[in-house]
């Protein structure tokens, strides 16, 4: 919650209006802005922990079925998934993780335009990821019937349990894709706040938290990519 009607919110030394980030005061229940920022980051780290635990369910299911059907798993991965598409998506996500860090760096250096530019690049990368995922993977797979479990209708299965591999593929990548979509929204929200001047050297907590969230989305993909595409 930000407020510009503050006790120290009057004009600065040279008589100009203060930017919102300069006039920032912490919430009424906080003793100082430092504690508030620290708590926000702690909360975000806890949330990231829950995200990892959420995906750990998929990783456990993956481990169980890969142990049960190792050869089928290998064949299905080679046959249904193209490592080139996965690699391209890995590259854009790594790039976007870099640019989101640069956006935070720009906030620390009080370069508003660079915050916006870096966040825009991040969002374009996220969009590229989703377009590739849906356009080059999901839609062809739906058309060919390479679908999970009981919906599997593909004419040329590679083994008895292709549909289980595809189940794990679909539920884990779709849940990850949903997180990318949420990422696009929160990065857009950060861009909106940046445009209004809410981020500066002394106050950029929510930008940092958006960055942390985006990193976890990338890291989960860094694990999904080799497990699914490079078996």
């Amino acid at each position: 919650m930000t407020s510009v009607t503050t006790t120290n919110g009057d004009a600065g030394a040279n008589g100009r209006e203060l930017e919102p980030h300069e006039a920032y005061v912490p919430g009424a229940h906080w003793r100082n802005a430092h504690d508030e920022a620290e708590a926000a980051k702690l909360g975000m780290w806890l949330f990231l922990g829950t995200e990892i635990l959420l995906f750990s369910g998929f990783f456990c299911a993956y481990a169980v079925f890969r142990m049960w059907y190792p050869e089928n798993w290998h064949d299905a991965s080679r046959y249904y998934l193209s490592w080139k598409i996965g690699f391209a998506n890995t590259c854009v996500l790594l790039l976007s993780s870099y640019t989101v860090v640069l956006a935070i760096r720009a906030a620390q250096q009080n370069k508003k335009n660079w915050i916006l530019i870096h966040l825009l690049i991040t969002n374009l990368c996220a969009l590229f990821f989703l377009v590739v995922k849906i356009g080059w993977e999901y839609i062809p797979k739906i058309q060919k019937g390479e679908l999970p479990g009981g919906l599997f209708t593909y004419y040329n299965p590679q083994g008895e349990f292709d549909h289980i591999f595809l189940s794990i593929y679909w539920i884990s990548t779709a849940t990850h894709g949903f997180h990318v979509l949420v990422g696009i929204f929160v990065i857009s929200w950060a861009m909106w706040l940046a445009a209004k001047g809410h981020y500066g050297p002394k106050h950029y907590t929510s930008l940092e938290n958006v960055g942390l969230y985006w990193h976890i989305v990338d890291i989960i993909w860094i694990f999904l990519f080799p497990l699914l595409y490079l078996v």
């Binding site: 229940h29 906080w30 702690l42 750990s56 009981g150 289980i164 539920i171």
Partner: protein
Amino acid sequence: MSHHDVSYLEPKGSFWQTVWSWVYTIDHKKIGVMYLTAVLLAFLLGGLFALAVRAELFTPYQTIVTETGETITKGEALRFIADRWVENGSTLTVNNVYNRFFTAHGAIMVFLFIIPAVPAALGNFFLPIMLGAKDVAFPRLNLMSWYIYVFGSLLAVYSLVNGGVETGWTFYTPYSTTTNWGSTTAMLLSAFILGFSSIFTGMNFIATVHKLRVPGMGWFDMPLFVWAIYATAIIQVLATPVLGITLLMLVFERTFQIGIFDPALGGDPVLYQHFFWFYSHPAVYIMILPGFGIASELLAVHCHKKIFGYRAIAFSSIAIAAISFIVWAHHMFTAQSVALNAIFSALTFLVAIPTAIKVFNWIATMYKASISINTPMMYAMYFLFCFTIGGLTGPPLATLASDIHLHDTYFVVAHFHYVMMGGTVLAFIGGLHHWWPKMFGKMYWEPGAQLAGILVFVGFNVTFFTQFFLGTRGMPRRYATYIEELTTLHQISTIGSWILALGLFLHLFVFIHSLAAGKPAPKNPWGGLTFEWETESPPVEHNFPHEPVIVHGPYDYESVVPPHCDPAEYPVARPPAGGANGTNGTNGTNGTHHA
């Protein structure tokens, strides 16, 4: 600054402005009160289903053909509902209705009542106050988790109205994936959504404990209720996401047939049980740890004595939280290898150690104390009695040989009701009486509350102690029928449930009477030493007129006269140094601040 002196319950302008001030509030006290109302409603709803289940079991289901060829059907208490619930053109059997009723009872009591009851209602209200804070760390997130809870609860109610669920609250596959009866998917999504509410509350409390303690309050100056809620919050954050993904996979299984729990497609139903219990066993401690916290407060305050073994109680909460994550497979002793069983059996016995540490410390606290006999203290003793029975019936279930016999019988039902109801719910009711004057600024009718408490205690034990005998005689859980030999025991249990219900309704009456006609509560009716007793009853808008200063530990009864109390009534009886229980980490009255 005038709002610093106004009670948080004070109406804001017109009626609709007041309503709006509640609906849109970010005040942890109002959110706590809203949670309290909601969980009590859920308790009522779940309790009605429990009464229906007990009513059905009053007689065995049996059909007798008389000499004249007339069919007399007994024990079909739910028949009138079965005849009215028509689905797919056919009438449901009594068994179907019975399944839906015990599932409704279990799911409502677990997800809507007992998990949020203590943390989200009492914890929300008192955790910040006990730390000397103005609010929780993230007040808007707190409001959001309240509305997520409301939405999830409405979805659960929708699922019940729209046909109900037959799987039991554990949603075991393959029954939960193959049956098209009822609205299982809605119930699964409801539990998934309620999980988010729980996670956000847990995150909020962890950040609050870490970052909003009043300056000078070290970790070992915190009240034990805060320690318990903190340990609970850790489990909420670490375990609930796993339940979330499990239920989501079950939803995918039902909607997209992903097959990972379906043996026909190469999946494994037992995998579901591992996933489910990896959350739900720690969740058992989400349910009981806050009860431990309340018990510590009740015993210390109403015995007017320093709690025995403060650090041992605090660390045993954390130990229980840690052990809770490595015992889940004891729910599957009949479905896995002998080696795994032996390991999980041994790990399960570990839980008994920190739990027993707590019980012995509580009893030691009562030793040679000047005990006030009132409703909260009586509930603390009911809690100790019932929880100890619940705890001691755990080892027979952790023992492999006896578990094979007792697995899925009424012995298990009685055991977890002694822990959940005899532990958490009794502590919750005791805590509610303890903090009621502070929350609403009104005293309650003490004789009425004590009578209700006796009814609850007697009714509870009659209902559930009987079920230990039923279980050892082989009565399986989740059956609408039984052999005639067990009729007497079942009838005693059902009569107990009526006594229990009578007691609970009397409690409800006492609370309503208190709100309508209770005497104004003093600031510190019990002589407590924690921060909530320093502020007004009910607390002012930002909890304290001035930020409180920590000058003594939470239980330094031997050296401090409680705030707002008559010093003549609280002679500092014991010398501060070299007392009988020199186990406390808090320093004395010198007001030294340690970070």
